[in-house]
Amino acid sequence: MNCENVRQLLNEYIENNLTDAVSQSLSEHLRKCEQCAMEESILRTLLATLRSLPQKSAPADFTEHVMEELSKLDDVPATISTEKARLLSRLASKSGLQPAWIGMRMTARSVGFIKYVPRPTVRLRIGEDRSRSLTKFPLALGFRW
């Protein structure tokens, strides 16, 4: 193994990513070659230092600032979560409306762009006179703003 090969493999050698045979051969070269040994020492120092660079502390009021900013947002994250998606499809199957329409309404309200979006309502028509109604179905679909 010559000096050029050794220099190319030094990082992998220090990181223990070489096979035993290659590692052994590289170690032998380092014992004999002062310049490569110096290179190894510098690289080893550099890697150890890079790994031990201190973590900086965020300012003491950092969390409070973030939470304050979050409180200005609507409390529901803008993207519909899995649970909400499940709720959405249940709502859709009960109301007979397209899930996408209800989804648009929920998303629009959650991102705060549109404050007034009609809410679908389902009303039981028990006791009502349905003789003049177009349908005899006991449920009435409607909207509430």
């Binding site: 890079l50 969390t63 979560s81």
Partner: protein, 187 residues
């Protein structure tokens, strides 16, 4: 163990419970802040970017896949915001991954390296002078201990390019460190 707790808190956030997110901010604020600081090199900008990163994470947490690790995802947001910030700040500057920047801008540093802390300080200063994408790769790989593929995902580059960035960064840092250490030995 943290991963399990993270998952629980993320699930709570997805149900609309903001209090769990406070714990996530407390847990990761230093790492997000440090990553931003290493990339942008300015305390005030780093603080603003770190805050922005948490707010962006909260807004997207509804669609976060709980099978993913939270921390690399969060650092990816912070890294992208930091790099975007540098782009906005220096629109006509040398490309962020151009090695020429590092070749020409080494400053003079005290030559006597007696303590490990001084060596850390020196290395930290040298890292700030690497090109921005190299700084990001070095910070995410060595300080945050992300894997090659996690760094690649954060920077939106192939794994091979991450290895190239890290290799070039080591060469640049080693070159300067060699000079400083040899002068230190002579003293």
């Amino acid at each position: 163990m943290n991963q399990v707790s993270d998952v629980e808190m993320i699930r709570n956030c997805q149900r609309g419970d903001v209090s769990g997110f406070r714990t996530l901010v407390d847990r990761y604020k230093d790492r997000v802040y440090t990553t931003s600081l290493r990339i942008v090199g300015n305390v005030q900008d780093a603080e603003d970017i770190a805050q922005e990163a948490f707010i962006a994470a909260y807004k997207s947490i509804g669609s976060f896949d709980i099978n993913r690790k939270f921390m690399p995802w969060l650092l990816k947001i912070a890294t992208n915001l930091s790099i975007d910030h540098l782009r906005r700040k220096q629109p006509k500057a040398v490309p962020l991954d151009s090695p020429e920047v590092a070749e020409i801008q080494w400053n003079e540093y005290p030559l006597e390296i007696a303590e490990t802390s001084e060596l850390c300080q020196l290395t930290e200063q040298l890292v700030t002078q690497l090109p921005a994408k190299y700084r990001a790769a070095v910070s995410l790989y060595y300080t945050e201990e992300l894997t090659y593929s996690e760094v690649a995902d954060a920077l939106d580059i192939p794994v091979g390019t991450v290895k190239t960035y890290l290799h070039r960064s080591r060469e640049m840092l080693k070159k300067r460190l060699r000079v400083v250490l040899s002068e230190s030995v002579k003293l």
